[in-house]
């Protein structure tokens, strides 16, 4: 996790909020560093994490996680992390046709299907222990990324249904958190993606939006991060507080600064 981002979001691993849906959105840049941040944050906060990683392999997240101070292999071994590796499982699902339900079963289907097997997998992974003692704090669902499901033939409505079911189970019933990543296609006019993004923006409590700089590529400032708080817990607090920062990604951390205050310029 990045300590500067924790300060900006005003959260610490000890006092993680519950029942929140966080939307990560990137437009014209790569927002995957936020996924690594939240993964290591929730693992350090002693939460049970179910990570649906569709876009990269396990070793990628593991190696970056080690730079950020968590070991995914040991978390998986002690049961804190349930990892669904999309790339490896998709090859298994596709080439070996067996009849048992698999979370990525929609790959086999000709018509766009629904994501019910995936939801069953998530529910099974995050259900509380039978014996009643809570080894971990709140459960967390992390998805990287949802726009990929649209590329695989699932409709935007089916993805929204999946998110709705997961929210009902993870956020409301189990009092956990959800973090999802969606790409913003910008001017590429991807209607399905826009439907998904707008639908999720209305449902989420916190939106972290990374964008490239309007002026183009810069060596010292890699992009801009817009933080938008929606649905505050207290009714008297002002709605929709928003902050904008610029960031630079380094080897093991990300540094944030106010707009125009990059250390390279000052």
């Amino acid at each position: 996790m990045f300590p500067e981002l924790n300060n900006l979001l005003n959260i610490t691993p000890d006092r993680a909020e519950q029942g929140k849906l966080t939307l990560l959105c990137d437009a014209k840049t790569d927002g995957s560093f936020l996924v690594h941040h939240f993964l290591s944050f929730y693992l350090k906060a002693n939460c049970k994490v179910c990570f649906v990683a569709l876009i990269q392999s396990f070793s990628h997240y593991n190696i970056v996680g080690q730079k950020l101070g968590v070991s995914l292999t040991s978390a998986r071994e002690r049961g804190q992390l349930v990892f669904l590796e999309g790339l490896k499982s998709s090859v298994d699902v596709f080439f070996q046709a067996n009849e048992e339900p698999h979370p990525l079963q929609f790959l086999r289907e000709a018509k766009p299907g629904n994501l019910q097997p995936l939801f069953e997998f998530v529910r099974e992974a995050l259900k509380p222990e039978e014996n009643g003692e809570a080894a971990w704090r709140c459960p967390v669902l992390l998805v990287d990324d949802l726009s990929l499901l649209l590329s695989l033939g699932v409709g935007a409505v089916a993805v929204l249904d999946f998110v709705h079911y997961c929210r009902a189970t993870v956020c409301w019933e189990l009092k956990g958190n959800m973090v999802v990543l969606v790409h913003d296609s910008g001017d590429a006019e991807d209607e399905e993606n826009d439907i998904l993004l707008n639908g999720l923006s209305h449902q989420s409590h916190l939106i972290l939006r990374t964008e490239g700089l309007a002026t183009g590529f810069c060596r010292d400032v890699h992009g801009q991060l817009r933080i938008l708080w929606r649905r505050p817990s207290q009714p008297t607090a002002p709605r929709d507080r928003s902050l904008t920062y610029q960031y630079k990604i380094q080897d093991k951390s990300v540094s944030f600064f106010a707009k125009g205050m990059s250390p390279a310029v000052l």
Partner: protein, 425 residues
């Protein structure tokens, strides 16, 4: 006191180390051989496979794309397990060159090739690969590998200047040996037939595979993509690139080349209409291909006619599913062909995306204006330089202004800007 004591013990320990070193006569100078094992990349043990090298940033295994200039722009090379997507230029003149460089590099490095095309027979593609530029020593090395009985051609012994015989022949640019990373090729010559025959390659020509039955029930993938995916998976499994066959004594890389993916010849209609029925076929294929590549020692190059794809959303999705994306934009047929600013170049090359593998950052090059030029023997990539404008009316505010001032020079001077002062005699 304590500080002095620690210093004393420190000095003592170094002295003991020095004495131990001198006893065993081991110097601290270690020559870095080609088998230099990886960096601190967390348990990633790198096997010394010919034609690969670890990345300096994260120890990721890299292969060369065949163009050392492109390797440098991509951060050292193409990572094993990833896809290089080449967005074809408008008339598909320069992208086959990059495709052939990739395959030729595979033959020289001794990798296994898998060539897939719907338009040309893979055997014909391999015949047209460029010849490598090698110096004398490794020519002999390759000849010995290929056939033991062939005598070297240049056997002329020098009688007087016999010392010069030992020097490598420096006739071309950058003579390199075959065990190095990244070679130069001569496009005007064909690769020697023996090298092709000595290499291990598999071809997939779509018209030949039409009638064979399908093993997997047809999902939304087009028939052509499905057959290709099964073919690739078959090769990876049978030849042990995914580590499933432990009897293989030497590990090797599989280089996959897919030509004109997405074109109507593959049975896909994304290049024909905007609202196609099967718009997920290509993206699903790319995802499954990515899954196959990530779990095996292979690298893939795909050329795709993205300028024909009507639906921009599909291009964005395809870009997100590929790791490295390079776009070629040639000047042929556009107004830039006659623009004096671009007279030295044949087109622009755009590095649209570089992956961040095992890392938060990637090696993005600072230079964004890159142009390529096809010379008689080489394909070069250079930084786009504007020619110096030495005319009286100099306004360097924008490239359009420069072009305007070039036109002001008058028709008598032709279309050459720069260096021609407007002098009347």
């Amino acid at each position: 006191m304590a500080a002095a004591a620690t210093c004393g013990t420190g000095a003592g320990s170094t002295a003991s180390v020095a004495s131990a070193a001198s006893k065993s006569k081991v110097t601290s100078f270690q020559r870095r051989g080609p088998r230099a094992s990886g960096t601190d990349s967390g348990g990633l043990r790198l096997v010394s496979i010919a034609g690969t090298r670890p990345s300096v940033r994260n120890g990721q295994l890299l292969v060369s794309t065949g163009l050392p200039a492109l390797d440098q722009l991509l951060g050292g090379g193409l990572a094993v397990g990833t896809v290089l997507l080449i967005e074809e230029d408008k008339y598909n003149i320069y992208s086959p060159l990059l495709f052939k460089y990739f395959l030729a590099e595979g033959i020289i490095s001794g990798h296994t090739l898998l060539v897939a095309s719907a338009k040309e027979d893979p055997a014909d593609i391999l015949q047209e690969l460029p010849a490598p530029l090698l110096d004398d020593n490794c020519k002999k090395e390759l000849d010995e590998d290929v056939c033991n009985h062939k005598t070297p051609e240049s056997n002329v012994k020098m009688k007087i200047a016999w010392r010069y015989q030992l020097l490598p022949k420096m006739e071309q640019i950058g003579p390199v040996s075959s065990s190095r990373f990244g070679h130069y090729y001569d496009i005007s010559k064909r690769i020697p037939q023996e090298l092709i025959e000595a290499s291990n390659w598999h071809g997939f020509f779509l018209p030949e595979k039409r009638s064979s039955p399908l093993k997997v029930e047809s999902c939304s993938l087009t028939h052509g993509y499905l057959k290709l995916l099964q073919f690739i998976q078959n090769i990876i499994y049978e030849e042990g690139f995914d580590g499933s066959n432990p009897q293989k004594k030497k590990k090797n890389i599989l280089r996959i080349g897919i030509q004109n993916l997405g074109s109507p010849l593959w049975g896909d209609d994304i290049c024909c209409t905007e609202n196609c029925d099967n718009s997920h076929s290509l993206t699903k294929f790319l995802y499954l291909l990515r899954g196959l590549l990530r779990t095996s020692l292979s690298a893939c190059i795909i050329t795709m006619p993205t300028h024909l794809i009507q639906n921009k959303a599909i291009i964005a999705r395809v870009t997100n599913l590929s790791d490295t994306v390079v776009g070629l934009e040639s000047f042929i047929g556009s107004e830039r062909e006659t623009n004096p600013l671009y007279k030295d170049y044949h087109g622009l090359i755009h590095i649209r995306q570089i992956p961040r593998l095992n890392n938060l950052i990637c090696d993005e090059s600072d230079v964004k204006d890159l142009a390529f030029k096809l010379k008689r023997k080489l394909f070069t990539i250079e930084r786009l330089h504007l020619p110096p404008d030495l005319s009286d009316t100099v306004s360097r505010s924008s490239k359009q202004d420069l072009a305007e001032s070039a036109k002001l020079l008058g028709p008598g001077c032709g279309m050459m800007a720069g260096g021609k002062k407007h002098l009347d005699f």
